[in-house]
Symmetry: D2
Subunit: 423 residues, 4 copies
């Protein structure tokens, strides 16, 4: 599948989009101390300075190097240090050792960012290279940086969480639900039949979102909102973490090995449940969507509730036409909200929703040519698809066809679930 | 999905089927020394005596205990020792420690088998319990024992393989292809469209095979035979195990960690390739289907060949009406054969074929009630489906709808691949 | 240090000694089922059939191969399979995989033993090789087989222990203490000063026991008997396993990682303590020496008791002149005894006593030449010395200068402790 | 052994000593970027900011808390964060996670240091507490901080080493040997006999250095200088890392597992050997003492050279009366020097010398009372003694009786060896 690109671009408008995304990265880093950029508390939670450098390396490697013949790398050694996993363009520095590097300093990395930005700007404005050849990789780079904006917040949350000092990223008021909110949910029915999902090639999409293709769906129902903390607490209080029959075999092994008895970041203090947020420790709000659960926990909850998870096709078929609005990174809560309204009108944002679908290629899918083909395709094993974006996803990054994916035991993302059932 | 059962059974015909399967287990064990029953060279490769006892425990636990009120267990401690993974009916003895148990002796286990068989016989013939209530669990038990017949041979092969003395299970001549065999293959084309797959409930099937359901297939082609050793050697010689771009990320990690450079059981001696078989070491026959490869290797081969693996729906849609004949356990080669004919007329047997499909429930699927629901359902994560049966599968055990499943890094099964492509 | 050898040997008397030891091995194996020879429940607990073959290999490798030019190995592949750790004479088969080998069968291994014995016999009687050149290696081989007699019993105990069926090796009555036994102990005082320890070269000793050398000891006291189960229970009941201040740092790490709260083989049932013995489960006898404790536990107990462990020099200086009598393998209890008398008259047997001394070479020590130098010398790191022999040591195997050694976390040997203090 | 303390102290002179040591810590940190304080590239190599805080915590915990009743901790949570391993005064934060903590910031830790210093100053000068009661713990704290000065440099070296950018700590010229230096060494002979070693209680010593005690030494010889890089290269070129017979069993296992083929920090580039130093990569200087080798490598080298390592008693008996001068941290080379003179006149500094002695208590030794007893005593298992101090040891920190100790596989300290032999 050739990647879809928007037509009719001029250098200035591209540059403006590029700048906007780069500035948002800077905004996200504003509250940090230099030390906060360095640490990596798990192989999954990369250091902030690595994210800053890697997103910049992406433009250097895939835009400047191929399209700007006179470009001279800022530091040739960065090509090794800040390559994440592109094996076909070099030897990536080991992921789990990213937190061992005190150098380059944060200041140097900001310098690297500026240097590369200036060269991208020059490339876009000097007319020596046709924009239509630069744009595909540049556009991916912009979306790539947005992906990492989300990862920066999820990784920072984890890196702060392991610290007994419980650092606060930003003091954000949580959005209060109206006191008399009716917190129940509706079942929405969908007819199914021979439907189509997947990206049709109009506008940007990652290579794993297409091609648009037919599939058959039996009639089904979806809950009008994700499962809440209150509902998940009922599962916990009913012994959900201790009853083997709710769990997939691999899930049960994980529960016992890790000693899970609540979502990640939850802590029980004097009988009350609290969780760590990017604004510090807070009492659990029962009306918010539950988050920081693994696929295994989402699946076990659904089995306990005598329902199931939706497939990604059911999800997309139901919500493709919904407006993309909701609680995203730009809302600046950095935490799911207790929603007043619910309903399929607000399916995007708040929490990524685990689906029942393993992450595999769509029929007829072809990855991008060259190293960028490694972006998505090589992870198509042992991962599950999540849909809808979260409270730390940039709003302009999400699409109805967007396929996020993680291993079924991961919990550090803002991941939740929505119930489904057959008709 | 209620499990399908055959109608109109009388006790004698059931008993005859039961006996036939039990006798075949005994036949398979005939060549063994007592010591051969004891060892377990990996967590996957259970001891033979464990298989003998576990398949017997299955009848005790799911047939005699519920349906024969007067039945007194042979030894109550066996319920712990020989439970494989049924967490809801007790605490299974740890899988990786099965090879630590010298007792009960092989002789005692044969006694256990006889004791349970006599009680099953009594239950079937004394008319105190209606056969239609006994039959569903008994039928599963019979198919369960057939599954373990296959596992006994695959596990024995592994347990012999680690031994530098290279023990021979049975001296079997390999089936010779006719010298002038044309070893090329054809592409068979299938129209796809709105098709149905899955078991329709007529006759026996495992609970994961149904319900029969609609799905949409784009037109596709399948190779008329599995990939051969000769073809796989070409991949190896082309550097397939050393070129990252052919591999899924998890596959590449596995290749490097395990040092894979050939299928399991292959060894290079003075530049020539040999493999260990149940009849000892042999020179690799290039015309045979390649086997003992993981999903990762199957997938990498397909990418190298610029093709792909079929989905399980494509496979079943193509071959559902083929006659089930081929090289099975009863053929007594215990090794894939260099086939003279090929073609879709002989798709069953020889090697299990990895598909591109993760093992997930079919739409509308419901596992069996109670502990037998653990049989298949709880493994629906991180595994891939294989189709078609192998040279150590009992012929009467396989069906067009049969879904075998293993983790993508497993190689000790007789697993191979067939190429597919879109039209 | 040249190994000491007895002078004036004739072939017949040597053969008689050789036969006597070989027959005792056979006696020890008598109660076993074939399956009992095969299993290995931990890397430490080798299969019985491996012990039988390895002790035979030792004679083949170090006696027949060098001294019997016409000797043809029973099976050349055994040189790899049954080499324990002699890296300079080949590549030993991995220790932790000894339990993966079903072949050679037990019967074949008995055949191997007989074959090698006949050739040793021929070598001793046919006068073609001078006995004084054969004898040093043969004598080591005899003592080596005695070492393995002890290991066979300790390993068998462990391999039986992991089996929920609790197999019994031999039904042995425990020796009853006289009812009115006074179970207290005395402190024996030793002057120390400039003393000598180590083997003087008269008669057989391992190469690690010499040379005899001077050292200075401050005056000290030793308990007249080892610590008993009753005393160790007091430590346990006083929270000994939960109080960090009694433990070496590595010991505390081990206690927490392994979850230790009692010696190996102990189990609490309805508030009472039992232990697994070679005669099955028994209630703990408080008057017996405590056994199956690690160095860490011995050391922690001594610190709790406000005493210390003796050094090996203190031990040998105190007990070198004591008669070697006590509860050994020949007593056929295979378990420490509740002793009626105590006192330094019975310091040998019952339990190996952990000392405070790391296992290092004596001043001026030289290992044997060649591969036999690997016998003891290469283990002189990270191990502690034990003294005195145990209830499964052959009586004729022990000497006052005998240095046994194990890693400080090992518990599967019959290891206990004796208290010491300064004056 | 009661810890020895210097008599006749007044508050001002104590304060001056305290300040001097604290200032040297600051000097050592001067070249660092903030990021350099944060990282921890192995569990052994703690972050610089952790060292700064921990050495301060030591004074807070063992001086201010017990002796300054009005003292209010800077931040009570630091008692958990900066406790290294004192289990009896709280729960230490896990060692391997020290590099996960971005907070407190470096600036806050400098604030913590100042706060505690001011309170120590006040305590020393305000006469409310008798100095003789404060001094013992304060004196240990001063020596403790010196120990960490050495660790800061060794840990920083490791943390810089893993970084492909090869950061330079300080550009230090290496001391050049005079061109015509005779680099051979002499054998110094010592009579031995009944000698005494250990600290006699006059002046400061750690609790593991006493009591002074008698022991017997056979006559022996020591090399007049440590083994050089040139000599060690000869061992390497003779296949030392590949020949099993030179190695202890645990050492050989380590060599193969870790793939060692040279000392830590060595790298071969185009056939030439280089090593990473605190001043960057440099060509190996053959005349310098070899360093960054494990005990296993030191022991293997000695065996290859047909010599042995000295015991710590031999070392101390030989060098107790030598003047303490040489290449220490104050010399500011931070690297061993190619020495012009050699001889027993300069045995201190340059490299810690592995001895043949396991780290065990001296006869009659008693650890300090209370938590400070954990300082040294609980590590007396599985470690080997090193003597003499290194090029990063503060000169005033070393003593003839000083016993350093590390596990035999550790290489990140400046550790080398000196040969010994019997007479």
């Amino acid at each position: 599948m050739p990647i879809s690109t928007e037509t009719q671009h001029d250098g200035l408008s591209i540059l403006s989009r590029f700048s906007e995304v780069r500035r948002f990265t800077e905004y996200l880093m504003e509250p940090l101390e230099i030390e906060d950029y360095v640490v990596q508390a798990s192989p999954d939670a990369s250091p902030m300075k690595w994210h800053l450098a890697h997103t910049t390396w992406f433009f250097e490697r895939f835009v400047l190097t191929p399209f700007s013949p006179a470009y001279r790398p800022y530091d040739p050694r960065f090509d090794h240090l800040f390559n994440s996993y592109y094996e076909t363009v070099g030897k990536p520095f080991p992921r789990s050792a990213r937190g061992w590097l005190s150098r380059p300093t944060v200041k140097e990395i900001w310098g690297y960012r500026q240097y590369v930005e200036e060269h991208v700007e020059k490339l876009l404005l000097d007319n020596s290279t046709p924009l239509h050849s630069v744009w595909p990789a540049l556009e991916i780079g912009i979306h790539h940086e947005q992906q990492h904006q989300e990862l920066m917040l999820t990784d920072l949350k984890y890196n702060f969480y392991v610290n007994p000092l419980e650092p606060v990223y930003r003091e954000c008021a949580s959005r209060q639900a109206r006191p008399n909110t009716n917190n129940s949910f509706e079942w929405e029915t969908f007819d199914g039949g021979l439907v189509e999902i997947g990206h049709d090639g109009q506008g940007f999409a990652f290579d794993n979102e297409g091609p648009r293709h037919k599939l058959w769906l039996e009639p089904y129902r979806l809950a009008s909102r994700p499962v809440t903390n209150g509902e998940f607490l009922a599962f916990m209080e009913d012994g959900g973490y201790h009853e083997v029959s709710y769990w997939l075999s691999d899930g049960w092994t994980t529960v016992r090995r890790e000693g899970w008895r609540a979502p990640l970041y939850w802590e029980q203090i004097d009988g009350e449940w609290y969780y760590f947020t990017l604004s510090g420790m807070r009492a659990v709000d029962e009306r918010e969507p539950v988050t920081h659960i693994s696929f295994y926990e989402a699946d076990a909850y659904a089995r306990w509730a005598e329902k199931r998870l939706p497939t990604e096709a059911e999800w997309e078929n139901a919500f493709a036409s919904c407006k993309i609005k909701g609680n995203f990174a730009e809302t600046r809560y950095y935490h799911p909200c207790a929603d007043e309204t619910g309903g399929v009108e607000s399916v995007y944002g708040d929490v990524w929703e685990w689906t029942a679908s393993p992450y595999v290629p769509y029929p007829g899918n072809t990855p991008l040519e060259g190293a960028l083909g490694e972006y998505n395709a090589k992870f198509m094993a042992n991962q599950m698809v999540l849909r809808g974006g979260s409270c730390v996803t940039p709003a302009s990054h999400i699409r109805p066809t967007y396929r996020n994916f993680f291993q079924p035991d991961k919990r550090w993302q803002f991941s939740g679930l929505r119930l489904a059932e057959g008709c």
